[in-house]
């Protein structure tokens, strides 16, 4: 008796921490209306030719650098390990290309010429690891930082950089909280989820014409934030959110949530989360006989989503922060330089990372390698023309011209179908 009770208690105690998952919003109930929903009517826009030559492609001469040049360290922090390493490594490469180009052309201020170095730390998308990496960068006396990659870790790192007066520019974090904390040092060169969400919702309701929307998310800071924004905007646009479901980031069987969703008959299902789950969700939905069109955000707009969804990948939509490669002025030249050095294609945010690094380098050339001067210089950035787009920072550190692109999977690859530009004041 003693033994069995002990085992029961042990089992319960082991399970209790596992069981607690927090959800926030309730699900909506809804009826259907006649559908104007035409997801197949939207197709890829043809690529536009680039008419802009990137600065780095024109660098020919090497500046004379002596071994005595003082070294300025620019920090990088991002996802360098784990299943999402492709994002972070890509950004790191973008930053390194900018630094190499700057060193080749020569960086100098007030008669002193400097050598730039990239100090990289891995945050593995984990806030705790990010905080440790950020502390290390502070100890290494970096003057500015490019990073983090995903929002959760970026937000954790931002406090540490703010406390030490280090300018931080994230090439890809989209959660609004990052810049709404009031830190003068937090900047980003992409739009936010509270802009991406409405852009997605508008696309679903207005462009696709689908009014019955199901919303799912993975309860992560990014996923749920994005899904909440879409949820709100669909209602504003006079659509109906017929069902709201949540899954866990570790979940692999989505049939329960999908079956419930199916019972509410949505025309479109929006998923806020990452491709590791978006792919299997789509696959399982199709097996259950769900015919709805799937739309997701920038966490799913990558090759892994197509690979995991397999043959069900055709016709998926996903938005992403930043302009489509075909619409980026300097993309072709940058891609050529990237391929030449790394023998690989750009994954996603390397152009943004490259631009962010160059914004910092411009600040160094204008005001010196002192942290306060760099912060002042970056804050005052006005219409800086980068590879991806032109940048002006708002008072909160967001980018004024916030560009999102909607992509569709056609013939097994993501193709840009629509660009949305929001001018934020």
């Amino acid at each position: 008796m003693f033994r069995t009770r002990g085992l029961a208690v042990l089992a319960s105690a082991t399970l209790l921490p596992l069981a607690f998952a927090c959800g926030s919003t309730g699900s909506g109930s809804g009826g259907g209306t006649a559908s104007t929903c035409k997801p197949d009517s939207v197709a890829a826009v043809p690529a536009q030719t680039a008419a802009f030559s990137a600065k780095l492609a024109s660098v020919v001469h090497r500046a004379v650098q002596t071994a005595n040049d003082p070294i300025i360290k620019i920090g990088f922090i991002g996802i360098l390990s784990g299943q999402y390493a492709s994002y972070g490594v890509d950004e790191q490469r973008g930053a390194q290309l900018a630094i190499d180009a700057a060193n080749a052309a020569g960086v100098s201020y007030n008669g002193t010429s400097y050598t730039l170095q990239l100090d990289s730390q891995d945050d593995a998308a984990d806030p705790t690891k990010g905080a440790q990496g950020a502390t290390k960068l502070v100890d290494d006396q970096v003057v500015a930082v490019i990073g983090g990659t995903f929002s959760g870790a970026t937000i954790a790192e931002s406090k540490i950089f703010s406390d030490n007066g280090i300018t931080q520019i994230s090439p890809s974090a989209t959660n609004p909280k990052y810049t709404s904390q009031g830190f003068k040092t937090a900047f980003r060169v992409v739009g936010r989820d509270d802009q991406q969400g409405p852009a997605d919702a508008d696309f679903i309701v207005k462009t696709l014409g689908c009014l019955n929307v199901g919303v799912m998310d993975d309860k992560s800071q990014y996923g749920q934030g994005l899904a909440d924004a879409v949820n709100a905007q669909v209602t504003v646009d006079k659509g109906t959110v017929v069902d709201r479901e949540h899954v866990d980031t570790n979940q692999t069987d989505f049939s329960a949530q999908l079956t419930t969703m199916k019972g509410h008959n949505p025309d479109v299902i929006f998923y806020g989360g990452y491709s590791a789950q978006f792919g299997p969700i789509v696959q399982q939905a199709r097996r259950l006989g769900i015919k709805a069109t799937f739309v997701s955000g920038d966490g799913s707009q990558d090759a892994s989503a197509i690979q995991l969804a397999g043959s069900d990948a055709e016709g998926l939509f996903a938005s992403n922060a930043g302009p489509a490669p075909s619409l980026q002025p300097g993309y072709a030249a940058f891609q050529a330089a990237y391929k030449a050095k790394y023998n690989a294609d750009i994954f996603q945010y390397a152009p943004q990372s490259f631009d962010a690094t160059n914004i910092i380098i411009s600040a160094i050339k204008a005001g010196g390698a002192d942290k306060a001067a760099i912060l002042a210089g970056v804050t005052a950035t006005n219409n800086y023309q980068g590879v991806a787009q032109s940048y002006t920072f708002t008072s909160t550190g967001d980018v004024k011209e916030s560009i999102f692109t909607i992509y569709k999977v056609e013939s097994g690859a993501w193709k840009a179908v629509k660009a949305v530009t929001l001018n934020v004041s």
Partner: protein, 323 residues
Amino acid sequence: MANCLNILTSGFTVDGLVQQLINGLTLGSIYALIALGYSMVYGVLELINFAHGDVFMIGTFVVLGVVDRFGLTDQSSLVVVIPALLVAMIAAMAVCAALGFTIEKVAYRPLRNAPRLAPLISAIGVSFVLEAWVATYVSANYFTLPNLIQGEIPILSDVSISYVQILMFVASLAMMFFLQQLVQRTHLGRGMRAVAQDRDAAALMGVNMNRVVSFTFVIGSALAAVAALLWTLNFSFNQTVGFIAGLKAFTAAVIGGIGNIPGAMLGGFLLGLAESLGAGYISNLTCGVFNSSYQNVFAFAFLILMLVLRPSGILREHVSERA
């Protein structure tokens, strides 16, 4: 109040209910297969083999490797797929059985007479080693198999049961049947039952303890390999899949009565159903207060309640007595 009544039935269809039941039973059949391994090992050694979930995980990667080697795609015809899956199953069973045998020999046997906690910690350690090894030397990415077995049978107007789901259900029942035969009819099976009943008396009667224990681990791991094959046909996986699936399967084993083979199966199905129906209907049953994100809370709260009411499990536990 009226709003509550509204939510109570919102979105409810008989089709939906039947679909959730099917989902629950298919998921439950996988939990049941993994639970058998936990149950048998606990019955014989009174050890919770935390590494069992990760043996299952290794099985999923073996299946992936074989399917990859055969170059199977969505378009591959059944003539190619069936033999390939059989090869995958045999390969996975072989690898998992060998792995289970090795883990027992290396991590548990030396600690057989140590205090109870020592092998438990050792098991957790093995679990970490396996996960880290896969993450570092194979990949930390998620994987899915292509749609190898397609097609379904419609049941009601909007419900169909897919061939994969039928396969999962039938395979796990078949495995349980074989296991029961093994335990009831063979020499080693009798040895297992004897050790489970009274370890010292069994040794006195000439039962080879080491052989029985190794046999138990080998069989349990082979079953986990079958579960792994069925898992890959339907779900995605990475190196962490063993942890969650394993924990739930262990729960299932306790619910059904640890050490009890039919109990493990029952527990597995019950847990699968609790998860499925919970996720599907929490929102309805609680007037929208809780939504489907409370799926795990609901399932485990239900199970904790069951344990409190019936601590030795539904079909009663079956562990050895100590005089």
